[in-house]
Point group: C2
Chain length 99, copies 2
């Protein structure tokens, strides 16, 4: 079942765009790992925060993706720019009014 | 620009599945209104809560959709089953490592 991972990452002051540029850079292997959607963005009313909205084929696919070289490189590069404050939710998708 | 609306709706005790069934029912006009994605789901570790993950063509499209008959009917039907406690984030999508 499709697994949703939506969240917010607080960045150190002034580092939002640097983190954003890391997370929107192509991450080879993501699609093959079962990533269905990975949207990254911001809300100017919420400074120093990057938001992500991800859909995966399964929770296992999401977990396994954290072992991908490209994903680990992005995490390693972004980590020093983050405060560690994170929010969000994970859930199993059960349906949609669209289809 | 794509607008993301991700959130959680707390239901009254025992009303999660009733709210879920309302939100996954087809809502005519949603796609035409600019809805790109509308995923609804649950997390058994977070009882009495329904999660949504929505993508829209724009914030205006999202706002206008609240006036759709099908959306208003769903809101009206679900409202008595909700506590009013809601969480989540809205953001502008700026990119994706997938494409």
């Amino acid at each position: 079942m499709t697994f949703a991972n939506v969240g917010s990452l607080e960045t150190k002051p002034g580092q939002r765009d640097a983190v954003l540029s890391i997370l929107v850079r192509p991450m080879p292997g993501l699609k093959e790992a079962g990533c269905l959607l990975y949207e990254v963005g911001v809300n100017d009313a919420v400074p120093d925060t990057v938001f992500v909205c991800e859909l995966w084929e399964s929770p296992e696919a999401h977990r396994a993706s954290l072992g991908l070289e490209s994903v680990q490189a992005a995490i390693e590069e972004a980590m020093p720019l983050l405060t560690g404050e994170m929010g969000g939710n994970q859930f199993t998708v059960l349906g949609s009014p669209l289809h």
